[in-house]
């Protein structure tokens, strides 16, 4: 759960100085960015699929009530049940009750950002239920008592040496002299430890990448197979999903699946894509005997009617995080919220209130890469700007910031004043920088010059150079 951090700037500064984190963050570019581009290049239809996917979601969202009703009926027909949860607290209470009714002592979990959003693990643990994350990255961050730093790669902020130390601490009964210095040994050990949990679990909880109205199915994508062992082996399978995950048909799911893995990890498709529909059938030799879906609203229905409706198209691929220069510089934890990066900067203020999350939509240079790579064509920078406007209207920015913006607005609306001021400032900066052409200190700009030099202008504004050139007939 987000704790509405007011200390984003401090955490971001710490993240920038954290050399281990900075090393780990290099893997984002090396892995995701390069692979996504290669996958996109191999599918000439990518941009058309993006338009199709946007149209699917827009249609579904404008008929959301009806598709939910259909979905619910289909789940019931296949022997499962649907539970509506208006708030995070409702969802926690419903899931705890279902676990208790199933007599659960041990719960295994597939990766679910919605379960992070509602703070599910702590709630179940407080009721003396053991909860084990089974996605490798999630398992590692759970051992560390952290939250995921990335929505699809929870442990992207960690190096293998750190993970080795965590495993030695957590799996202290295993022989001390065993090798754990390479990823393959760490994976093999996690496989062994978690296999016992899979087999012993009473309840398995997974998220859903999609819900399908036509068939009443929930869809998860994984590469590890952990989601399938979670949903197949225990007596009860609980799916936690937010209401906007629904699509009408299997064909619609195909269109979105073609974009999801390519945008996320740069794979053509994930190793496993699983369509789960209800509990085990009469003649089935395996599978859970009970199947529940908890549908979470938690602010989504409000977004449907406000300026942030486009955000409900999000399929949580993480491409906007991977391509964001701010995320790339500070990682996910500094955001202080469940959802980091550009998508989190739009979603978190809706979930927590702008008063508690005002730094997040401000943590962007509006470079626009997030929108360019978004497979669902979500105008992320525009929505961050809308949050900034709301923030300003509520009087949240400090007095100095407001005063500066007022002064700037005054000048910007008066060209003569603006040009005169701009000329004076540019001249002042150029003089001060001298032959070096860079400023290491500047009044009112400590936030910039505290960590790096500011390149100085060369002495004239573009406008004055242009006017002069025109007068001489050169343009």
């Amino acid at each position: 759960m987000g704790n509405g951090r007011q200390d984003f700037k401090t955490d971001a500064a710490h993240a920038l100085a954290d050399t281990a984190l900075q090393k780990a963050l290099q893997n984002v570019k090396r892995g995701f960015v390069v692979k996504r581009e290669a996958a996109r290049a191999k599918l000439p239809e990518f941009d058309t699929l993006r338009e199709d996917a946007r149209a699917i979601k827009d249609h579904t969202l404008s008929h959301l009530d009806l598709y939910l009703e259909t979905y619910e009926r289909k789940v019931a027909e296949s022997g499962g049940s649907v539970h509506y949860a208006p708030t995070a607290a409702d969802a926690r209470a419903i899931i705890l009750k279902l676990c208790q009714e199933a007599g659960a002592k041990l719960v295994t979990k597939g990766k679910s950002m919605v379960s992070e959003e509602i703070g599910l693990n702590a709630h179940l643990q407080a009721a003396k239920i053991e909860v084990v994350e089974t996605d490798l990255g999630e398992y590692i961050v759970q051992l560390r008592g952290e939250r995921p730093s990335h929505i699809i790669a929870p442990g992207i902020h960690l190096n293998k040496e750190t993970i080795e130390a965590d495993f030695r601490r957590a799996h202290h009964r295993l022989p001390r002299e065993r090798r754990l210095d390479q990823a393959q040994y760490l994976v093999a050990e996690a496989r062994k430890v978690l296999r016992e949990k899979f087999l012993a679990a009473d309840v398995g909880i997974t998220g859903a990448n999609l819900l399908i109205a036509e068939t009443g199915s929930s869809v998860i994508v994984t590469n590890e197979g952990n989601g399938d062992l979670t949903s197949t082996l225990p007596r009860t399978h609980i799916v936690i999903a937010s209401i906007e995950k629904i699509v009408p048909t299997l064909e619609d799911a195909c269109t979105i699946l073609r974009l999801l893995a390519r945008s996320a990890t740069g794979q053509e498709i994930t190793t496993y894509t699983t369509f789960a529909t209800g509990p085990r059938r009469d003649r089935d030799p395996d599978g859970p005997s009970a199947y529940h879906v908890v549908l979470l609203d938690n602010g989504r229905s409000e977004m449907l009617g406000n300026e942030f409706a486009d955000m409900l198209r999000c399929i949580r691929c993480g491409a906007c995080l991977n391509h964001c220069p701010v995320y790339g510089a500070i990682g996910g934890h500094a955001y202080g919220s469940v959802y980091p990066g550009p998508m989190g900067a739009v979603l978190t203020p809706q979930l927590q209130g702008i008063d508690r999350a005002r730094d997040l939509p401000n943590a962007s240079s509006f470079c626009g890469r997030c929108e360019a790579v978004c497979p669902m064509d979500i105008p992320l920078p525009d929505m961050m700007r809308t949050w900034r406007e709301r923030d300003f209207a509520r009087g949240n920015p400090p007095f100095s910031e407001r005063l500066f913006l007022k002064m700037w607005a005054y000048a910007a609306k008066r060209p003569l004043v603006y040009h005169a001021l701009a000329n004076a400032i540019v001249l002042f900066m150029a003089r001060r920088a001298g032959a070096r052409g860079r400023l290491s200190r500047l009044p009112l700009a400590k936030a910039w010059t505290g960590t790096r030099d500011l390149p100085a202008p060369q002495g004239r504004t573009f406008h004055s150079l242009y006017t002069r050139a025109r007068r001489r007939g050169r343009v």
Binding site: H59, P154, N159, K160, T215, L250, E251, R281, S301, L304
Partner: protein, 227 residues
Amino acid sequence: MSAPEETRAAVLDRIRAALGVASLDHARRTAVVRRLERHPRGTIPSRATRRGEERVALLTDMLTKQGADVSRVPTQKEAVGAIASYLGTCNLPPRLRMGADRVLAALPWREAWDIERSFGRAGPGDRASLSRAVVAAAETGTLFLVSGPDNPTTLNFLPEAHTILIAASDIVGSYEEAWDRVRAIYGQGTLPRTVNLISGPSRTADIEQTIVRGAHGPSRLLVLILG
């Protein structure tokens, strides 16, 4: 927490209020019913329109790139032989767990007399398993496995080496064609408990983006294309 009926009505009412619609709007209902009945297709990648041997080659190529071993077996006898030698290659004892699938049962198992077969769901002690895919989509090398007594789902995930047999005639181009095959078996709007789309062996890149096989599911996947 209030009663389930109330929370349900609360969420649906909030959605309708946000959309500015009434619950009994006939045109909206018709649009939804029509879409579900017609389930229109979106853009199909051109690579999914390949036919014949080119299509088989695409499936093979995609699966191989995703870390699976693929073997074309023209006859049933060769299929059994390929399974036997694969178990040897993987250093596994000649034991195989499988379901009641009739196509698999009809293979000439006497050709591999030393393979000890057992039937039903997989347990923790099963190291190798055999399943049959009902259909495969060549576009990304994706096999569709359906749950049930013929091919229990646990076979797909618990053992360390999984073999999947697919008839060459069951290979289609796109996911959409594959779903139409599934619809032909189960009827429109109805699915078995699980449909597993499998496109390679289990893997993870959660540690420093290094790809490691055999995260939780099988570390080895053999796909046999029969015919």
